[in-house]
């Protein structure tokens, strides 16, 4: 369920939450849980890690509220926290045995097995997207998720990730190019196309 909170109401809610009002904190967390979980689900790629990361993010939000100065939008700030929680979760997962993810730029990417899910099926499509995202390097995955799932603009993503806007642009472009290659499975290899201006 998506909760829509008018900006002014949210500002009041955030002020109350910062002052330690538990009901306000409760409302704030509930109104943002869907977005937080969505970004975590897409970045971590599975339900269990997404739930853990969402929990970590909520705890960090509660802990960090007294330090939230209101200069950024609450949603931007909370996305930053959720993204960091997800990256922490990925680091923890990296220490456990998992199917390898490409870690370097320019790594050759195998197209998804064509025998896997019917693209017309919603769950199958979701699995396909998950599998495709999992093949991206985390830096690219996060940038693409923040842009295409969270629909943040480039400046907001730069703020969330604390990187220059040019880097945001590059990561989104390269992430999308790799996704197109993976999802399409029949596009020319990435090295046959320029990804950035020489």
């Amino acid at each position: 369920m998506t909760h829509v909170t008018p900006l002014d109401d949210e500002r009041r809610l955030v002020d109350a939450a910062r002052a330690g009002d538990r009901r306000a904190i409760d409302r704030l967390l509930r109104s943002h849980q869907a977005q937080l979980h969505a970004v975590c689900r897409r970045i971590t790629g599975n339900d269990v890690d997404a739930l853990d990361a969402t929990q970590e993010a909520m705890i960090a939000i509660v802990r960090g509220l007294p330090r939230f100065d209101g200069r950024a939008r609450f949603s931007t700030w909370s996305y930053r926290i959720a993204t960091n929680a997800c990256l922490d979760e990925l680091r923890r997962r990296k220490r456990r045995p998992v199917v390898g993810l490409p870690e370097q730029d320019g790594v050759a990417i195998d197209p998804i097995d064509p025998t896997t899910p019917d693209p017309g099926d919603a769950i199958g499509a979701r699995d396909e997207i998950d599998a495709a995202l999992a093949r991206l390097a985390p830096d690219f995955r996060v940038a693409v998720v923040l842009r295409d799932i969270c629909q943040l603009d480039y400046a907001e993503i730069a703020e969330v990730l604390e990187i220059p806007a040019g880097t945001v642009r590059s990561r989104i472009a390269r992430g999308r190019a790799q996704l197109a290659e993976i999802l399409g499975g029949n596009q020319p290899p990435a090295d046959e196309r320029p990804t950035s201006t020489p």
Binding site: M1, D15, A19, G20, R22, I25, D26, L29, R30, Q33, A34, H37, A38, R41, R42, V48, L51, D52, T54, Q55, E56, M58, I59, I61, V62, R63, G64, P66, R67, I81, N84, A85, L87, D88, R91, R92, A122, A125, R126, E128, I129, D148, I149, D153, Y154, R169, S170, A173, R174, R176, A177, A180, L183, G184, Q187, R193, P194, T195, S196, T197
Partner: protein, 292 residues
């Protein structure tokens, strides 16, 4: 004739996101290969956007929010228990022990006999330490990675907590901090030091300033037993290595509050800092906690 280079994926992404200038848009429009590639990228992003994440169950949301709200709001907390690895009976046992501790704390807080309170404190503190340690044990599989290289990270908290029995406030001067409408105001007033807050309160209520009101009059100071009880509880829950270095009291929205200063290490830069924790006198429940 000008030979325009084929737009790159970077440039096509800009077009896709509506961040491109007119010249670039025109260049893409004029290039069939670029238009085809743009469509390909558009299909990819459309597929991504159309693929929804299933919403969480209400029970999961309740659980997430309740856990976040019940977490001590202070730096230094280890990573949250991994939900996938949590042991339900351990959680249930912790709840039972916490309830018992809470009841005992309420009882000890009502006692006016310092010796009696001291005795209760000792047993309560041991019970609290046990709870904290069992929680830390449950976290063990994930705590090692908590906040590594992350701005969300821990507070440089020690992995072991000093015995809460060492908590003492009796030797510290008890400072009246003033009356505030909210925890946020108390936070602002104590942002630099308790002494500054006290000085500001004294200045505001000094005879001749015209600002003294009945509400500004200092309330009765909390009893030593209550001060020690909350100090010990905070030392355990916030995992402070040492007892508080400062103690004050105030009213927040008409409610009696005690506030402590703990010397600790900042999670942000690893430097020494002070954690300020203000809690209700009756139940030691959080009013405001922040790091200077």
């Amino acid at each position: 004739m000008t030979d325009h280079p084929t737009p790159t994926d970077d440039e096509l992404s800009l077009v896709l996101d509506g961040e491109a200038g007119d010249e670039l848009v025109a260049r893409v429009e004029a290039d069939p290969a670029a238009r085809a590639r743009l469509e390909e990228l558009r299909r990819t992003t459309d597929a991504l956007r159309a693929s929804s994440v299933p919403p969480l169950d209400d029970a999961d949301v309740d659980d997430l929010v309740a856990t976040a709200l019940d977490t001590p709001i202070a730096p230094g907390r280890p990573a949250a228990p991994s939900r996938s690895r949590a042991v339900p009976w351990l959680v249930a046992a912790s709840v039972v022990v916490l309830m018992a501790v809470g009841l005992a704390l309420v009882w000890s807080g009502r006692s006016t006999d310092d010796e009696q309170a001291g005795s209760a404190r000792s047993s309560d503190a041991n019970a609290e330490a046990t709870v904290a340690e069992s929680a830390a044990g449950a976290d063990a599989s994930t705590a090692s990675g908590a906040g590594e290289g992350s701005p969300l990270g821990g507070h440089g908290a020690p992995t072991t907590v000093a015995s809460p029995q060492s908590s003492r406030t009796a030797d510290l001067p008890l400072i009246y901090l003033g009356a505030y409408a909210s925890g946020g105001q108390l936070r602002t007033a104590t942002a630099t030091s308790f002494a500054d807050a006290a000085a500001a309160t004294q200045a505001a209520t000094a005879p001749g300033t015209g600002s003294a009101t009945k509400a500004d009059a200092a309330p009765a100071a909390p009893k030593d037993a209550a001060l020690d009880r909350c100090a010990q509880q905070l030392q355990v829950t916030l995992k402070m290595a040492a007892p508080p270095i400062g103690v004050g009291y105030a009213t927040v929205d008409g409610r009696d509050v005690v506030a402590y200063e703990f010397a600790t290490t900042s999670a942000r830069d690893g430097k020494d800092t002070t954690l300020v924790a203000a809690v209700g006198v009756q139940a030691c429940d959080q009013v405001v906690i922040f790091e200077r």
